[in-house]
């Protein structure tokens, strides 16, 4: 089967029944998707399959044959962050970072299909994703900001005046 991951096509044989997560991590060496539970309960492994968010631990790799898969590595680079990545940095939405790639990919897909900054709708879209560090407020703030199309200043403001995250971090 052929899996196109972040634009690069990989031929993988004999792994049709394996989880897409294991194939991505172990066969292809793309480690952005995390193995948090291997049973669909945490959302850390979510990737985009032809643009749609899917739990890669629940998807048999054979079903992804011929698809375009996007992982966190394909969202943006440190030099050119995607808007959702900028929003997560700006709003301190990543603490330990283990849930972050799944959260951002689900959020990216939510915004892609026209999602707004409505907090209830964001909670619905991210409802299957578990974070144990930040307590979700910052994550929802980040997704809302990205959905609004806010622009983000990621430079150090060490002498800037204190601003709360709740206000979106603006000066």
């Amino acid at each position: 089967m052929n899996l196109t991951v972040n634009g690069i096509t990989h031929g993988v044989d004999g792994r049709e029944l394996a989880t897409l997560l294991d194939v991505l991590r172990e066969d292809i060496g793309v480690t952005g998707p995390k193995a948090g539970c291997h049973q669909g309960g945490c959302g850390a492994c979510t990737v985009l399959v032809d643009g749609e968010p899917r739990r890669s631990c629940l998807l048999p790799a054979g079903y992804a044959d011929g698809t375009e898969i996007t992982t966190v590595e394909g969202l943006g680079t440190p030099e050119k962050l995607a808007p959702i990545q900028q929003a997560f940095v700006h709003h301190y939405a990543a603490q330990c970072g283990f849930c972050t790639s799944g959260m951002m990919l689900a959020a990216h897909a939510y915004i892609d299909r026209g999602g707004t900054d409505d907090h209830d709708a964001i909670q619905q879209a991210l409802g299957g994703h578990v974070c144990r560090c930040t307590g979700y407020s910052k994550i929802i703030d980040a997704v809302a900001a990205a959905a609004r199309g806010d622009s983000f200043d990621l430079t150090t403001t060490a002498v800037g005046k204190y601003t709360t995250m709740a206000t979106g971090g603006g000066e």
Partner: protein
């Protein structure tokens, strides 16, 4: 023509049929075949070694997905993602919307949900109550023989046959009431569906009171009085304890859900 076959490791033969006929042939008598619909239930079972697969039948390429309407008759292919039911009228739409989250609903299938074996700590098969209330029939195959029968008759043997699709007549009215799930990926601890046919037939069914969904005939008979019907429903089930809820809790809540469904049906009539 035989289904394409791939051996993933020494233990498992993977079958990937390209049509319904190939799927029926590959399933055979079903012995030692693990049927993979969307994978959302089977894959964790394989990962955690709760099930071993001698043969895995992956239905993704067999063309068994889709919803067709002919007159008032609706037919849903076994591989149709649960998400595609979400906007349908009650009880099916709200029942489907109550399954897991968007990502899992988009991957999990109608057939996989209806045919799931009982979970290891909780019953599965969230959609069973809705289809039972709709009086759905199930089209299935085993040993090359395709039959259609009421879903109630099919559910007890859902492990021995390959479900190909379900069909039902659009109801005149429908209602669904379920417990909120503590986490998106939990199964429904308890849910009740009700539907009134265009001929006036009322059906009520529950998920989460046993190994699979059941009709509630005593509650149907007492439906004129929703409170009495709720109590009567307890005669039709034998609730159990599991990780999601105790039998005591289910016994307390079932009458409430039955009453809500009947109230809603009355309002919509």
């Amino acid at each position: 023509m035989a289904a394409a076959s791939v051996v993933t490791d020494a233990a498992t033969e993977v079958l990937m049929p390209g049509s319904e006929d190939e799927a029926i042939a590959a399933f055979g008598d079903g012995a030692e075949v693990v049927v993979v619909g969307g994978g959302t239930i089977v894959l964790p079972d394989l990962t955690y070694r709760r099930r071993r697969a001698r043969k895995a039948l992956m239905l993704g390429g067999a063309g068994l997905a889709g919803i067709e309407t002919q007159g008032s008759r609706v037919t849903i292919g076994t591989m149709t993602p649960v998400q595609e039911l979400v906007d349908m009228p009650a009880p099916l739409g709200p029942c489907a919307a109550n399954v897991a989250d968007l990502e899992i609903r988009s991957q999990g299938t109608v057939g996989g949900n209806l045919c799931a074996r009982e979970g290891y700590e909780a019953p599965r098969g969230d959609l069973q109550s809705a289809f039972l209330a709709l009086g759905a029939s199930a089209r299935s195959a085993a040993n090359g023989d395709v039959t259609e029968e009421p879903l109630e008759d099919f559910l007890p043997k859902r492990r021995e046959r390959l479900l190909l699709g379900v069909s039902f007549d659009e109801p005149a009215a429908g209602a669904f009431a379920g417990l909120d799930r503590p986490h998106t990926h939990d199964y429904t601890a308890l849910a009740v569906s009700g539907a009134k046919g265009t001929d006036g037939t009322l059906r009520l069914a529950a998920t989460g009171t046993g190994s699979w969904g059941v009709r509630l005939p005593s509650a149907e008979a007492a439906a004129e009085d929703p409170v009495a019907a709720g109590e009567a429903a307890l005669e039709d089930v034998s609730p159990h304890d599991d990780a999601l809820a105790s039998a005591w809790y289910r016994t307390k809540v079932l009458p409430v859900l039955v009453r809500r469904v009947l109230d809603e049906l009355k309002e919509s009539a």
